[in-house]
Symmetry: C2
Subunit: 241 residues, 2 copies
């Protein structure tokens, strides 16, 4: 039995304000919930729609399908929902491989990028303050539990990158081909906003790189998540193999 | 002035059945509409919400915001919507670079893959019959007008691939690294369903390739659209540069 007040609190976690007030966020779906339970994140509560199997070895509360749909951020609630505490924030990373995001707006893109970083063993994503919140339900969903393994930070990028003792690689439409030189192993790789790319202030701090295009010139640019996939793969390929 | 009946017909294009009946599909958004008007696709009608600028050089019909929202498949109608005729289908491709999709279910993934193929100059995507319809509004949206430049076919993949006189490259979790050998320039590259990957019948027809993973073993697999991005980039890099 879960109180109405608790359900109301969970519902409030759909908004950034609610998440910041309670320092908690929501994940949905059996697989994502189970995977996040395996990480170092601390679960506050696991809810399962009555009639579904509970999760072995985990204390689950059952609620009605109607209650589940009310607190779900998905059109059709998958029936498994967990609330986790936001982990403490760490000091900004200063070494290694760092992915930097300049005003990414789409939570699905951010989630996909978290999943990619996890796949490629990149643990740190530093975002501009205007980048979408990585605890947004759509970002959490698209991250497929990678949110429990990748550290995401929000800061003033200009200030952060100016003091960083690492090469800064900026993705742009008119840079050097990513295949021309071997990318430095330890660096900050910057990806920009879906419409405007990387802001000029940040562009000036690094060296511009481009994914070569083989189609016709009329082709739309690449989506930021697929561009990330290509550049991250190339970064790892040239320095890890 | 657009009749109620016409609006009803447009609304019916949101479903596969409606699209197949009328042999037409819908695209929304100023940029996508303008770009598709530049392709060889034939526009049936272009609708603009009253108060917005019409598209230069194109005959536009204006409708009320309410009417636009009713026919839009987006939560917030962008105000520009065009109906295009489905182009005639061609013979299945037998040479060159062919992307093959085995039961891709998510229209957003299919749209993203169309956009990627367009970027990389790959003109042919051959899909299994159970792959999601590429005229699905979400697929059209994600393709960013690439749907006007890339040819998409639906067929019995087993039959098609069995008669194809090209190497068949299949993406799988346990194949040879895509970086180990140079991929053949002309080939059919197969990507599988989001949950189950490539079906075993098709797996047996080709050679398995894998994107190396650098993260921990607990990591979720890559999303099919980001996996496509990485493999297509590598395919083009090794054979075009």
């Amino acid at each position: 039995m879960v109180s109405k007040n608790t359900l109301k609190t969970i519902k409030s976690l759909a908004t950034k304000k609610g998440r910041e007030t309670h320092k908690q966020f929501v994940v949905e779906g059996y697989k994502s919930v189970c995977e996040l339970l395996e990480t170092t994140l601390e679960a506050v509560m696991v809810l399962v729609t009555e009639g579904l199997d509970t999760i072995e070895g985990t204390q689950c509360e059952t609620i009605t399908p109607k209650e589940m749909q009310q607190i779900s951020s998905l059109k059709t609630a998958p029936g498994y929902l967990a609330i986790f505490k936001m982990p403490e924030t760490h000091e900004l990373p200063q070494t290694g491989r760092i992915l930097v995001l300049d005003d990414i707006q789409d939570p699905g893109n951010l989630g996909t990028i978290m999943r990619l970083c996890d796949w490629f063993g990149i643990s740190h994503i530093v975002c501009s303050k205007n980048t979408v919140d990585h605890y947004n339900p759509k970002a959490v969903q698209a991250s497929m539990a990678s949110i429990g393994r990748v550290h995401v930070y929000y800061t003033d990028l200009e200030k952060y990158l100016s003091q960083l003792q690492l090469p800064i690689l900026v993705t742009a439409m008119n840079g050097t081909s990513i295949y021309k030189n071997i990318l430095p192993e330890n660096a900050a790789l910057v990806l920009g906003n879906e419409s405007h790319g990387v802001s000029s202030a940040i562009m000036n701090l690094g060296k511009a790189y481009t994914i070569p295009q083989y189609g016709t010139q009329t082709t739309e640019s690449l989506n930021v998540a697929t561009a990330s996939a290509i550049i991250l793969a190339e970064w790892l390929r040239t320095t890890e193999t």
